[in-house]
Subunit: 140 residues, 2 copies
Amino acid sequence: MSDDLDLTPLRREVLDMIKASARPIKAYELLGLLSRRRGRVARAPTIYRTLDYLTRCGLIHRIESLNAYQACAHAPACPEHVFLICDDCGEVSEIESMDARIALEIASTARQFRAEQVSIEVHGACRACGTETPARAKKP
Amino acid sequence: MSDDLDLTPLRREVLDMIKASARPIKAYELLGLLSRRRGRVARAPTIYRTLDYLTRCGLIHRIESLNAYQACAHAPACPEHVFLICDDCGEVSEIESMDARIALEIASTARQFRAEQVSIEVHGACRACGTETPARAKKP
DNA sequence: TCGCACGTGTTATATTATAACATCACAAGC
DNA sequence: GCTTGTGATGTTATAATATAACACGTGCGA
């Protein structure tokens, strides 16, 4: 995770595809897109290595509970991030919560645990989906 | 997720195996253990259904970033849980952080997001591993 | 020029998870 | 008693996710 980025054409292309996606996107979806763009098949390691690099740089985040990736909403290397994941429509928004961050920091150090990487994923219903008639009005 | 548990022999056996494990345990590890205990192979759906049930009941938690399961440290249905995951020794401890919980509640409702399920996973170094000479002294 | 570091390609395979259907036991209602 | 429905479990097959290991090329400093 050195400070200077090395955005090769492949890495830029994958990053652009992730940014272009309205929702978190999966590795094999990217693989399909990449293959079509290039006119020849891309293989799994290609995409996983690239995702790994972009993640380590802080340009994208992996959403563990979805096995999917999303561009970081807060420039490279935001220190902490909370994902609000709507289980109805699939939308994911990345927010910040300084208070949560501090609380976790305190809780960790109280146990002499040195926190390096925090993942907070909140599943539920977004504004649009949550305000529909209770108990799942969507998707007939 | 009704209130009354239906702990069949299979479910109890799997729950016991998870409780007996010092570390989070993976689905296919459980599958192997179960097969040996019974003297005949158990298949993947058996274990996944059971894990799903135990998770829904709140008896165990799935640790997303590890694809593994751990018994809940706080009786059935604890409302929230933070996992401190040591990347060195693999130990995972489940703690509570009311403050983090409240912070996330506030952040969610501010965005009119109805939170249903929160997953907080903190990777880093536990006390034992973190106090060794800096930069990974372990695992020769 | 040599050799190394590193990005990417390629082949193969490991790991994690689910769909779909079969069977069985038990309980509610006739 | 019998039937029928429901839910747990078994079984077969396959999907989805991820990594190991090695090959190749390019650029760069010794």
